[in-house]
Amino acid sequence: MNALWIAQVGAVLRLELKKTFLSRRGWWIYLLALGPVGLTLIHWLFEAGHPGGRHSLGDDVTAFAALFLLYYLRAGIFFGCMGIFSNLFRGEMLERTLHYYFLTPLRREILVVGKYLAGLTVALAVFVTSVVLSFLFIGRHFGAAYSDYIWHGPGLSQLGWYALVAALACVGYGAVFLMCGLLFKNPMIAAAVVWVWEGINPFLPTLLKKISVIFYLKSLCPVQVPVPPPFSIMVIDAEATPAWVAVPGLLAVAAILLIYSAISARQAEINYGE
């Protein structure tokens, strides 16, 4: 990659960040990220009024694991990335502004990379920050015990893993939805298929489980959350993928999807009339 390409990626990144970061249109994405932060903040303030405590620190750690899996991975980051990334190309098609990019002396691959990096910056800033804040707030009412848990116990390592998993989720889902926004007129249908596929992952045979993003993300979570009954009887157990396979594997899948998106962008033609 030469200096010109890097400069061009930077230019697209700056332009896109101006358009997407903290835009009014994306209010619901920020709400998705703020929801759990507000909830854990309320939990801190509410439980601070009960000095004896009604539950243990371990309960809060498990509650955060459930929050991370049930909310962040299954809903918040998934839908947030859908909103951010599928809008990068499809939004410009709808506003009839994509041709401005296509008329500039800029390789389409550079445009795809620039847009992806812009979306990724927004997604990482919003969701990783949200995960970190939620983790810090959820047990804050234990005071010094929670600080001790973070600094001298497994807390910091868990926080690091949660932040990494959230970041990888943004990378993986971002690549999927960027491709959907580029290839499909209505990315919703593709997104619904992906959502159903990711949702039924615990019940799929071992081989099919591995063709998903959530399987690798769950493998990396520091605290596992069991599937509640009655669905627990349908769960098919598969050996968790080690981190040294899951992390590069997810990055490789994202890279493949991005390359495919770049190839598709090279052949893209605009017809706003359709």
């Binding site: 309960d59 909310y71 839908f79």
Partner: protein
């Protein structure tokens, strides 16, 4: 004729009867929906499950079919009871959500995005008729997927089982009908409200999924973090499940809901809370529609 002589002349043709005027909208809407191959295919695919159910009912009452299949004990394996019909309604209602998410957002947003609402309202056509027309598109489609095949299955079972079964299980029929209508109204109002507020169709569809699944996920986390059960108030499928359990079973509860609409045991909310939450959701949707469906819009 000179241009300046072309003055206003009112329409002199025949008018559609006021009571059926709102049906003009679904007539054109169905034509447009029919053009989408995906929607047509999806709609047809929603009849697979009712067909399987009908087959099960038929086989259960046909001794020769059972012996042909070599499964004489199958009639004891699947019982045609409240679980069977609630399961049917649960599956069909989930498919109805998908259909509403695909077809609903395209109802109002194009009219608003292209400033075409005034073209409707300039005619002898009120805001109420406009909303009725738009909602009837979804109501008809969703009815064809839920309570109509449900009642047909009930009739088939009643026909094969006899009049006594029908009278003894009349509550199932009313449960299918009323339960489906509760779901259809919530779904249709939500789809139209989101369609009116979000101009990009895929975004409106995504938001609809978001309202159901993200709110449900958030409700579950509220329960987990706060050690409460009131987070279920954010879970629409849970609220619907509670209403269905009451409609299907009344005081003699034997199940805790059905597939996709299950209420976790021991975490049931009072029925009046569930009904109030659903009513509040519908009221918010109606307010959102009333704010957007206007003949003139002030653009600042």
């Amino acid at each position: 004729m000179a241009v300046y002589k072309k003055t206003y002349r009112p329409y002199e043709g025949g008018l559609t009867a006021p009571l059926t005027r709102f049906l003009v909208i679904p007539r054109y809407a169905f034509e447009e929906l029919h053009r989408s191959r995906f929607l047509t295919f999806f709609f047809l695919a929603t009849y697979i499950y009712p067909l399987i159910c009908a087959l099960i009912i038929y086989v259960q009452h046909n001794a020769s079919a059972l012996s042909l299949l070599g499964v004489q004990g199958a009639n004891r394996l699947i019982s045609i009871n409240v679980v069977f019909f609630m399961g049917f309604l649960g599956w069909q209602s989930m498919l109805a959500l998908f259909l509403a998410a695909f077809a609903g957002p395209g109802q109002i947003s194009p009219d608003l995005a292209n400033n075409a609402l005034s073209l409707y309202l300039a005619r002898p056509f009120s805001r109420l008729e406009y909303v009725l027309g738009k909602i009837s598109v979804l109501v008809i489609l969703l009815s064809l997927m839920t309570w109509i095949p449900g009642l047909l299955l009930f009739s088939l079972q009643g026909y094969l089982e006899g009049w006594d079964w029908m009278t003894a299980n009349a509550r199932l029929a009313s449960g299918i009908f009323l339960g489906a209508w509760v779901w259809i109204i919530v779904l249709s109002l939500l789809a139209l409200a989101l369609s009116a507020w979000v101009k990009w169709k895929p975004a409106a569809g995504a938001l609809m999924f978001g309202v159901f699944f993200v709110a449900a996920g958030f409700g579950a986390t509220v329960n987990a973090v706060q050690r409460t059960k009131w987070g279920h108030l954010l879970n629409i499928s849970n609220l619907i499940g509670s209403v269905w359990v009451e409609l299907f079973q009344g005081a003699n509860k034997t199940t805790s809901g059905t597939v996709f609409f299950r209420v976790p045991e021991g975490q049931e909310l009072p029925l009046w809370c569930c009904c109030s939450a659903l009513a509040a959701l519908c009221a918010v949707c109606l307010y959102m529609l009333a704010r957007k469906i206007r003949g003139a819009e002030v653009v600042r």
